[in-house]
């Protein structure tokens, strides 16, 4: 007989003879096991010892231009305005094929310099990031399959462009549970002029229960939907309501033996804890001025990427498993509202200092070792330019740069090299699937074993095509 059965029987016998809610309450407190307590987010052991416990994913929504930031290509400047050799683009498809797609190369106007021990090229757009390159792991040959925004974002998050699959954060909380008892296990923060394309499906739980879906922490009003007790209700009234609900539900539990009621009792308790813990999380008055300055936060109440980075650290401290930040908008096609001359530098300023500060801050809090930080978009941008009154680049999926830090990634490593124009990898291509497999691996999960059965198939984040753990980028 399993522990679960023993406990249930025990419970049944005691509650069957009318032991009231106090006994029940104690019983629930004793059992933190997911099966007994009915808490789907109870921590679970990984497949093998993990290097990392959590992930902070800085998602640069829209597709940042690696060619203006990390992948230095003098040949592009040299051949600026020349058509790209046919051999590169023959048989390829791009977004905007019928209208604005161009085939002439566009040289970058940014100044690049080498930084750190491994002489990583970083442009003048990212002065803060330049200073911490020795702590980052760059992959310059990332590769994805889809080149329109919403499908590509879905692909980066769920491993497929199809709807109805769990996102990476959902997979991780499903596989590992959460170590935070009073906040959701998967939290999403947003900044920038608009929400990311695709919306809620990007942090959905697909065929997994909705307990694993990402919970958006809102930047205006209450941080979690419905977190705040209605205005006219006092704290005391709220406690009494929750307490009465618990007592009445406990009686029903004793009468029916339905485990779902035990789960609901737990859920109300966690909801109540969240009412206190979430506002505390958002209230950054306990941070020093020095910390705010580190992130470049001018007004801690203002919703910015910088503030979200600070919140990410606070969430990491509290044991939240998967923290995802979306920052819009990186879709620099050229034109009056989204060009490489004005808007790219602007958005780089928004993210450069806070991203670097997050790494430094995690490190000094002793959190970087077991936190993986991921920086990147749903794809990169083409070596060919879109030249209008200003310049831009089209969506590009064959090679783009992402960086990683902490969680057992090799500090300072630079992996993968692209051809002279930065079009494709000349060595070590790293597909989205490989990225997923590698991140799961660091969290102690074998990507082939983290599965859920639906329609007769074992679904997994990395899908059915081969995926490999990129050991070369791991320490």
């Amino acid at each position: 007989m399993s522990l679960r059965d023993v406990t249930r029987r025990h419970f049944f016998e005691r509650c069957g003879i009318g032991v009231g809610s106090i006994a029940l309450h104690q019983l629930l407190e004793q059992s933190s096991d997911a099966a007994v307590s009915g808490n789907p987010l109870a921590p679970r052991a990984p497949h093998f010892p993990a290097r990392a416990k959590r992930v902070i994913y800085l998602f640069m929504a829209g597709g940042p231009s690696q060619l203006e930031m990390f992948d230095y290509k003098p040949a592009l400047t040299k051949f600026n305005g020349e058509p790209i050799p046919k051999s590169y683009v023959e048989g390829k498809r791009f977004a905007f094929m019928d209208s604005s797609h161009r085939t002439n190369l566009l040289g970058t106007k940014r100044q690049f310099e080498q930084h750190g021990e491994n002489r990583m090229w970083v442009s003048d757009l990212l002065p803060y990031t330049s200073k911490i390159v020795d702590q980052l792991t760059f992959i310059r040959t990332c590769k994805t399959d889809l080149f329109n925004h919403a499908p590509a974002k879905l692909f980066m998050n769920t491993g497929t462009g199809q709807f109805g699959r769990p996102s990476m954060g959902a997979w991780l909380t499903y596989g590992l549970g959460s170590e935070c008892e009073d906040l959701p296990g998967f939290v999403v923060l947003q900044s920038g002029p608009r929400g990311p394309r695709g919306g809620a499906i990007l942090w959905g739980s697909g065929m997994l229960p909705s307990a694993y879906q990402g919970v958006p922490l809102r930047n205006r009003g209450e941080p979690i939907l419905n977190l705040t007790t209605p205005e006219s209700i006092s704290d005391e009234q709220q406690i009494r309501v929750i307490d009465a609900v618990r007592k009445l539900n406990a009686k029903k539990l004793a009468e029916t033996g339905d485990d779902e009621i035990a789960t609901r009792i737990n859920a109300y308790e966690m909801a109540y804890r969240m009412q206190t813990s979430a506002p505390k999380l958002m209230d950054t008055t306990d941070e020093t001025q020095e910390t705010l300055d580190l992130y470049g936060i001018k007004d801690p109440k203002e919703s910015t990427f910088a503030r979200n980075c600070l919140l990410a650290r606070r969430l990491a401290e509290r044991g939240v498993r998967f923290i995802q930040l979306y920052h819009t908008n990186w879709d620099h096609h050229g034109g009056p509202t989204e060009n490489l001359e004005t808007h790219l530098p602007d958005i780089c300023r928004e993210i450069d200092q806070p991203s670097a500060a997050l790494i430094l801050d995690l490190k000094r809090h002793g959190l970087l070792d077991d936190t993986i930080v991921i920086w990147g978009g749903e794809f990169g941008r083409t070596p060919m330019g879109e030249v209008r009154e200003s310049t831009g680049r089209n969506h590009h999926i064959d090679a783009f740069t992402m960086w990683f830090a902490g969680g057992g990634f090799k500090p300072g490593a630079i992996y993968g090299e692209t051809d002279e124009f930065g079009f494709g990898a000349i060595d070590h291509p790293v597909h989205v699937r490989d990225i997923h497999a590698t991140v799961l691996h660091q969290l102690g999960l074998n990507h082939e074993r983290l599965v859920v059965r639906a329609q007769g198939l074992d679904f997994r984040l990395t899908g059915v095509l081969p995926a490999r753990v990129v050991h070369e980028v791991l320490a």
């Binding site: 977004a95 094929m97 109805g164 394309r197 309501v241 859920v452 007769g456």
Partner: protein
């Protein structure tokens, strides 16, 4: 004779973990009980699941992936002599069966399944395969592909409290597992259960009181009458309409990133009305898949084709339109397969199916049926409308207006000539523009509008002409639209896409169906969607009736007779009650696909009427309640939680159908997608409509629905998960809409008393102990407690 796949129930069954995705089960595999009953091995029950799980991926239907020339999914393949000269399976000869040699081998190079696949057979599974070969290695056809035959009813010795066929099948198996059924639930529970299940609302206090009295006197007869009343309530269509809309992936926006609103609610209303009218399911299916192809297709039949217009539309810049048109066809194929056949047809988009006999070519033959449509938007006129007559009348009305205005030209010109600049400035922009236009260049609308400012305004004859015109114009041009399918005159050519990639077209295919199932009706012309629809509802189809009754059963008991409700293929679960499933499927078809009749059959069974309380012996012997020794407590679906709150608090508006509405949602929800969408909160009665009418944006779905697992309409949903989370608690406690319900219920607590409010919420009276807990609280707190009770949001 019983069908080949029927088997006597062994005392203890082995269970494979089918990865049930509802809460709790997803994390804790069922305990494996694998005691072998030496004389009872059956291929479908004991062997195929093992072969399918461990072997078919490389030794199955998909020729392109087949290793060593061996296929184990057919008897001839398994027993054939292989390239190596050996035989995988030799009947009754374990020592000569290479399969056994390989699975028992310790040699890494020989061992099957190979280590790199990460799957390995348990000792028990190996022993089973050995025993099966010893016993002669017999194969059976896959149960779900075998024809549906009406099974004979089980017979019991002695007297029984029930003769309902459902009960006989269920009791037969209960007897074998050694469990007694539970007693009938008390009257108030029976009524509450039937009410939620049939109309999705709690019974009113009067209904409960009347029923308890009636039931005490007339017993089951009273219950039957109550059920019949519920089946006739318009709310039946709303409750079961939502069940169908999940499968139809209905929502009110285009999805993807832009997620613009769309108008397709007429399709939703068509579903509700069809269910209320008890449109036979075969007709229900045909109209949705191919209503436009029916002879003299009516407007309603065209509206029905909205079923396959519920696919998403990508309006992002820079996309290839053809790519996303094809994406929606892929979705139509997958949805048709899942909803009507219970098969993961979509898996064969890129390659032959790994487990089921569906080739990639066959996939594109089905694709071809869905490749020949235009996707227009259609105006929907009132049901009684005679269009040619209406157009004629409108013309006449317009003429009458013109004539009248012409007669009053003098008066009008006088008025216009006297207008001062000051007066003109104050006028609406359209009128100013009309005045700036030279009189002879003004159009009819402008002339009318100007005339109506002053001269016509006080002229009752003009007003009545105008009224007549406006109402006709509205009937013709001001109507709602809906999205439909329309067959093209020139069909598109369909080609197989290599790896499902539309940029890699290969061989040309013509419309066709799955060869493992019954053939299409013979005909001369190339078959179209209408033929496909008729093929689906053919009585020779072994799948559709089983799949649909199983999905109905799932709503009533929390799980289907076949647990994998969307996969009746080789990887799917076996039916727990195969004969019952076939009896229901036969009933369904023989009754002329009568929906309400099958609902009625189920809810009138003693099996359905049992108490749902757990029992220790059931826990011990049947943890998942698959043998149904009791009913199952089920948390209400998302929309019904809202509906129950509205009903309990007396706020519910019971208007049927119409455009979607915008009940209060928290601030900031709509800014989560790429484009910030408007949410103009409804006022008046529309604020309190049932959940099915809430506008659903796919990218930013209404939080109070999605938090309770309502699907967003991104892909077909044949079963909702039932999660149970802190965010749900926060919603019931603090959400503005639920607080509004609480405020209304508070007044009922004050005016009618605690007991009445409790009764409204739970359909029963509180116990003394419960009253005591609530008595010390203020009325608003009592109302909030009641709306948060597990019992209030659960059907027991």
């Amino acid at each position: 004779m019983a069908l080949p796949y029927y088997f006597p129930l062994p005392p203890v069954r082995s269970q494979l973990w089918m990865g049930a995705v509802w809460l709790g089960m997803a994390l804790t595999p069922c305990i494996l009980r694998t005691t072998l009953a030496a004389d009872e091995l059956r291929f479908n029950r004991d062997i195929r699941p093992i072969l399918s799980e461990y072997c078919f991926a490389c030794h199955g239907f998909d020729q392109s992936q087949r290793e060593a020339g061996l296929r184990l999914d057919t008897e001839s393949g398994a027993k054939a002599t292989l390239e190596s000269g050996k035989n995988a399976v030799v009947s009754k000869s374990p020592e000569n069966s290479e399969l056994l040699h390989r699975i028992f081998s310790e040699d890494e190079d020989e061992k099957m399944p190979p280590a790199e696949g990460g799957k390995s057979l348990s000792q028990d599974q190996k022993a089973k395969l050995k025993l099966w070969i010893e016993q002669g290695a017999a194969y059976e056809p896959h149960w779900a592909f075998s024809p549906i035959e009406r099974p004979r009813l089980p017979k019991f010795e002695g007297s029984s409290d029930t003769s309902h066929p459902i009960d006989l099948f269920v009791r037969e198996q209960l007897l074998q597992v050694g469990l007694a059924p539970s007693p009938r639930a008390p009257a108030h529970t029976l009524l509450r259960r039937a009410s939620f299940d049939l109309i999705g609302l709690p019974p009113t206090v009067d209904e409960v009181n009347a029923f308890e009295k009636d039931y005490a006197q007339r017993g089951i007869q009273a219950y039957q009458d109550a059920v019949d009343r519920y089946l006739e309530r318009p709310a039946f269509g709303e409750r079961w309409g939502r069940w169908w809309l999940d499968q139809a992936r209905y929502a009110d926006s285009n999805g993807y990133s832009i997620d613009a609103p769309r108008e397709i609610w007429k399709y939703r209303d068509w579903v509700i009305e069809s269910l209320n009218d008890n449109l036979p399911f075969d007709q229900f299916t045909i109209e949705q898949l191919a209503g436009d192809l029916l002879p003299d297709a009516s407007q309603s039949q065209r509206i029905a084709t909205g079923f396959h217009r519920n696919t998403q539309i990508n309006q992002e810049g820079g996309i290839d339109q053809e790519q996303f048109r094809i994406e929606s066809v892929f979705d139509r194929v997958a949805t048709t397969g899942t909803v009507f056949l219970g098969l993961s047809v979509g898996c064969a988009q890129c390659h032959n199916h790994k487990f089921d006999p569906i080739s990639q070519k066959e996939y594109y033959e089905i694709f071809a049926f869905f490749n020949n449509q235009d996707e227009p938007t259609m105006k929907v006129y009132g049901k009684e409308e005679n269009l040619p007559e209406l157009k004629e009348k409108l013309k006449e009305a317009e003429k009458a207006l013109q004539t009248y205005i012409a007669e009053k030209k003098q008066a009008y010109q006088t008025w216009e000539s006297k207008l001062t600049d000051e007066e003109k400035k104050k006028m609406a922009p359209n009128l100013r523009k009309a005045l700036e236009t030279e009189p002879e260049k003004r159009n009819q609308t402008q002339i009318r509008e100007l005339f109506n400012v002053e001269v016509g305004k006080v002229d009752s004859q003009f007003q009545s002409l105008l009224e007549n015109y406006t109402s006709l114009d509205n009937r013709l041009n001001g109507v709602a639209t809906t999205m439909v399918l329309q067959e093209r005159k020139e069909p598109r050519q369909t080609r197989v896409f290599v790896k499902g990639d539309f940029t890699r077209p290969a061989e040309t295919v013509t419309p066709g169906v799955l060869s493992v199932l019954h053939p299409l009706a013979a005909q001369e012309k190339e078959p179209n969607r209408l033929d496909l629809a008729r093929w689906i509802v053919s009585k020779a189809n072994p799948l559709t009736a089983r799949v649909i009754v199983n999905r109905l059963w799932q709503q009533y008991f929390g799980r289907g007779i076949v647990e994998t409700e969307n996969d009746f293929g080789l990887q799917g679960a076996l039916p727990t009650h195969p004969e019952l499933l076939d009896w229901l499927a036969s009933e369904f078809m023989d009754s002329g696909w009568n929906f309400k009749q099958i609902h009625r059959q189920i809810v009138l069974s003693e099996t359905y009427m049992q108490k749902s309380d757990d029992r220790e012996d059931v826990r011990e012997k049947d943890q998942d309640n698959q043998w149904l020794a009791r009913q199952q407590r089920l948390r209400l679906d998302a929309e019904l939680i809202r509906d129950a709150g509205l009903a309990v608090s007396g706020l519910l508006t019971s208007q049927l159908g119409g455009p979607p509405v915008f009940p209060p949602i928290p601030d900031g929800v709509m800014s989560q997608g790429q484009v910030k969408r408007q949410w103009k909160t409804s006022t008046g009665e529309d604020r309190f409509r049932r959940g099915i009418y809430t506008f659903v944006y796919r990218a930013t779905p209404p939080p109070s629905l999605s938090v309770f697992d309502a699907p967003e309409g991104n892909s077909t949903c044949t079963r909702r998960v039932r999660s149970n989370t802190p965010l749900q608690a926060l919603t019931l406690l603090n959400d503005a809409a639920f607080f509004e319900f609480a405020t209304a219920l508070k007044k009922i607590v004050e005016s009618e008393g605690l007991e009445k409010a409790f009764l409204r919420s739970t359909s029963r009276k509180p116990t003394e102990e419960e009253k005591e807990i609530l008595a010390s609280m203020d009325a608003l707190s009592v109302a909030r407690v009641l709306l948060n009770l597990d019992e209030t949001v659960t059907r027991e």
